[in-house]
């Protein structure tokens, strides 16, 4: 007779007592949730004991459950260690989930509009508890994922795992590599700072070089002739919807193919041409439950811990000033994983190096397993393939280096020096003068001549400089130049850098050294620093470089038959004195020097 008018758990309690009924209920729920393992089974598994009942309950979650239906129930022992996989495929998958979770958290605080996006970033950094932390994790994870996926591909190549029957697995892998790059790239734009705008502008401008349809492709990607509201929305939707959708689909296909063919064994474990991955001898089997599963959970914890440690102490996602389409920063680069294309572009034709070359390269990668039909996976049998890959890697490194702004971009030395002295924090660097503590940026006028003088002669050198400015009329030229920069200075008297401002002194020494290093072009060059008080806690720093102009062609100084530089002369036959200014403001709390 039921306690209630229908059979219920209460009947169990009546029949068996509370404790037993509760335990059996819990046991049953556990078995249902795990699709086959009860509490005792789980306990045995985690203790590393053999299953106490048959059929083996550790196999049913794979057979009957959803979550493990795609995971094999056992692995080959040779595949569970560091070599040959280096756990790179697993790590890639880990990052897919890691990025999804951190990304969804960030989505809560983000609006894809040029008017708001940057403000959202400031809000995340200044007003959202753990906001900076999650942003750092997401950014670091993104950069790491690009690297990990690439290394995974390299590993697969070197162990020959792309060969028959795994050609299609490799093919989907190349698609995943491209998707990862695109995901990282589209995410780059979202903060809407200068770094984002210009890195993406460079990247997207490659699309312009597409033959025939370049302009249309460009319009499609950017949503207009320039990156703006439409472009940002498109990049955002691609980043959070389109690309992740493809990524999940192809991750599924990729992993399904891995399971269907089995993890390829280390090359030396099989004879050339053999594929024994699916036939795992009984003594070589390592069961997913509990061995592989605990291993994976442990690695997930270890990897997350490493990322957390990095983001707490070592890594912060960059945020530069608000995106400004009017101001191109000096030294703009594409994201580092696209540097090789930027470098290749410096080799010549935009269409060939920007579109045809990368497309051909990726296309070749994708179909490579179908072209390379050699059967052996042994290293010794693949000398040609390895040699080609080493050449390609070397090429990648070289073209990436060429992509850096240091390479092959001709900027006049004065502009370059002024930039190096003053630039706002970018790519984790900043201008030499910025980190000088506010109290050491003493109001006054300083000259690099002080640092060209012999020790002890600094005072005299500065006095001579003051004299020289007056007699040559350069003082007037300098005053006029500063006035054009909206700085009114009554009389320019230069002094030595105060003794209690060692960091300012150090910066001025660097300034002097940089001008000295360019003395081929900056003949008789000097630099000055003029510090003025602008507001109570705000100072203005004006730098001017001045030199006698010489003829320069293609970045080389023109010389006469005696090897002397050819000076540019005005209509009266006098040398032309050039002056280039730059300035910035420094606030007491700007915090560059922490």
């Amino acid at each position: 007779m039921s306690v209630l008018p229908f059979p219920s758990f209460l009947d169990d309690i009546k029949e068996k007592g509370l404790k037993k009924a509760l335990f059996e209920g819990a046991n049953e729920v556990t078995e249902r949730l795990t699709a086959g393992m009860n509490i005792q089974d789980i306990r045995e598994a985690l203790r590393g004991e053999n299953p106490s009942r048959r059929p083996n309950p550790r196999l049913t979650p794979h057979a009957d459950g959803f979550w493990l239906h795609m995971r094999p129930s056992y692995f080959h022992r040779d595949m569970t260690g560091l070599y040959p996989t280096f756990r790179l495929g697993w790590l890639s998958t880990y990052f897919v989930f890691f990025e999804t979770i951190t990304g969804i958290i960030l989505m809560l605080w983000y609006t894809p509009s040029p008017d708001i996006a940057y403000g959202n970033m400031l809000n995340i950094l200044s007003n959202v508890p753990l906001g900076q932390f999650v942003r750092d994790l997401h950014r670091l994870g993104a950069e790491a994922m690009v690297l990990i996926v690439f290394l995974h591909m390299l590993r697969t190549f070197y162990t020959g795992s792309y060969k028959k029957p795994r050609q299609f697995t490799w093919f989907t892998g190349v698609i995943l590599l491209i998707l990862t790059g695109l995901l990282s790239f589209t995410g780059y734009l979202l903060p809407w700072d200068q770094l984002a705008l210009w890195a993406v502008t460079i990247g997207a401008s490659m699309a312009e070089a597409t033959p025939l349809v370049g302009e249309q492709v460009n319009l499609l990607v950017r949503g207009g002739p320039e990156l703006g509201a439409n472009g940002l929305l498109r990049f955002y939707l691609a980043h959070v919807l389109l690309l992740p959708a493809f990524l999940f689909i192809f991750t599924g296909v990729h992993y399904y193919k891995v399971i269907v063919h089995g993890h390829s064994l280390p090359p030396r474990s099989e004879n050339p041409g053999e594929d024994t991955a699916k036939r795992v001898p009984l003594d070589k089997r390592v069961y997913f439950i509990p061995e592989v599963m605990t291993n994976e959970i442990m690695w997930a914890a270890v990897t997350t811990f490493i990322l957390v440690v990095l983001c707490v102490w070592f890594y912060h996602a960059p945020l530069e000033s608000h995106a400004d389409p009017q101001v191109t920063p000096l030294g703009t680069t594409a994201p580092w994983y696209f540097l090789w294309i930027q470098g290749a572009l410096k080799l010549g034709d935009k269409t060939f190096w920007g579109i045809i070359f990368p497309t051909a390269l990726l296309g070749f990668l994708a179909v490579m397993p179908y072209l390379d039909v050699t059967v052996s996976r042994r290293f010794a049998h693949r000398r040609f393939a390895f040699s080609v890959s080493f050449v390609m890697l070397a090429l990648l490194v070289v073209t990436s280096y060429m992509g850096l702004p240091e390479f092959g971009v001709a900027t006049s030395p004065d502009t370059e020096i002024l930039h190096e002295m003053t630039f706002e924090p970018a790519h984790n660097h900043m201008g030499v003068l910025r980190p000088v503590p506010f109290d050491q940026v003493v109001v006054g006028n300083y000259t690099t001549r002080e640092f060209e003088a012999e020790a002890g002669n600094a005072q005299a050198a500065v006095a001579a400089f003051n004299e020289e400015l007056q007699t040559t009329g350069q003082a007037q030229q300098l005053t006029n130049l500063l006035r054009e920069q909206h700085l009114a200075v009554p009389a320019l008297r230069f002094t030595t850098v105060p003794a209690d401002a060692p960091e300012l002194r150090h910066a001025m020494e660097t300034f002097a050294r940089k001008i000295q290093a360019e003395n081929q072009e900056l003949v008789n060059g000097w630099g000055v620093l003029i510090v003025t008080q602008n507001q109570e806690n705000l100072r203005r720093l004006d730098l001017v470089i001045s030199w006698d102009e010489v003829l320069v062609e293609n970045g080389e100084v023109v010389r006469d038959e005696n090897g002397n530089p050819v000076f540019v002369l005005d209509e009266n036959g006098n040398r032309v004195r050039r002056m280039t200014p730059a300035h910035f403001f420094l606030h007491r709390n700007a915090g560059y020097y922490e």
Binding site: R47, R77, D78, F305, V309, H486, A590
Partner: protein, 386 residues
Amino acid sequence: MLQRMLIEKIENRILVGILMFLGIMVLTGWVAINEPGRMAAFEQQHLARSIQWGAELYAANCSTCHGNEGYGILGRAPALNSPQLFGHDFFASLNRQAERLNDTKNELARLQAELDSGSITRERQAEIQARIAALQATYGDDIVAGIDTRLAEIEQERQSLRMQMQPAIDKGYDPDNPDRLATLGWQGTLDAFLQTTLVHGRPTSESYWPQAMVAWSQRAGGPLRDDQIENLSNYIMNWNRTEWTIEDLLLVQQFPIRPGLPGAEMAQIEGVGTNVEAIMAQLEGVTGDPLNGQTIYNNPPLACVGCHAIEAVAPLTANQWNDTVNVRLNEPQFAGYTPEMYIVESIVNPGAYLVPGYSNAMPADFGQRIDIQMLADIIAYIKSYE
């Protein structure tokens, strides 16, 4: 070795996993605990950098009119680095002292009256006498005289301050109305005022400045983004200081101009005043030019047409004369009025009579802003619609 699991024993894996998990929790907790400090530091740092960017924008865009140091440029644009903008009142402390003294005086009178009434308890009487004795200790035996001496001293100090401020007063500063925002009737914060002005500019200021301030925001067709407007306003706000001095005030080159006040171009006009009879008498000897009147009517600084072209806001120009003759003058209160007289009254004293359906929105200061010839011209122009 490399082909085996790095940690072979399952219990060690579980241990490492748990330790790592705890490590993640502890570190995240550590970050969370430090978040308030970090966020505050970021905010301070970002404000500093915003001020730096604002300084850059100011030097490039604003300094040509408002001056490199924000003191304004005579005859061109008003000062921003000015105690007036930030609402500093140099008399504030003196005013407070005087107020306190007057309060004491009133209190004394109250106490005296209470004593004189005779209907109080002994305790209360003692209390009042103690209070009076205390005041006598401070102000001397004759308390009122003592307070008046102090008040006179304060007044003297005020005069001396005023003397020090005289150069600024000559330039249009009013120490008794020291707060620019209060003068303008602005209810919001100074920051909001600055941003609004930067966004929309001051198109109407062209009537008293040679060049009107343009709209700076992209929202209003200008060149600057919202964040740049904010940087600029942060920079201007950074001129504020806790202690403004008279020296700061004297550095100001140009104070804001209010139409109709000394300094405004309009002040050079000899206004007709608001006495309708007197104006009518003056009008006898003046002939109005309707074409000239049309120019005055339709152009700044008066720009009557601005309102009188929209029927929902003000009676239409074209109907004014005929309405006056056919409708208004039939009203009993306008018995003995000529149409001209009605119009003159409407201009110099717009609140005297409201056409049904309209509120009193017309400025009341036209009596100071137009002279007799202008008035005659305007009347002639209105009459031309007869």
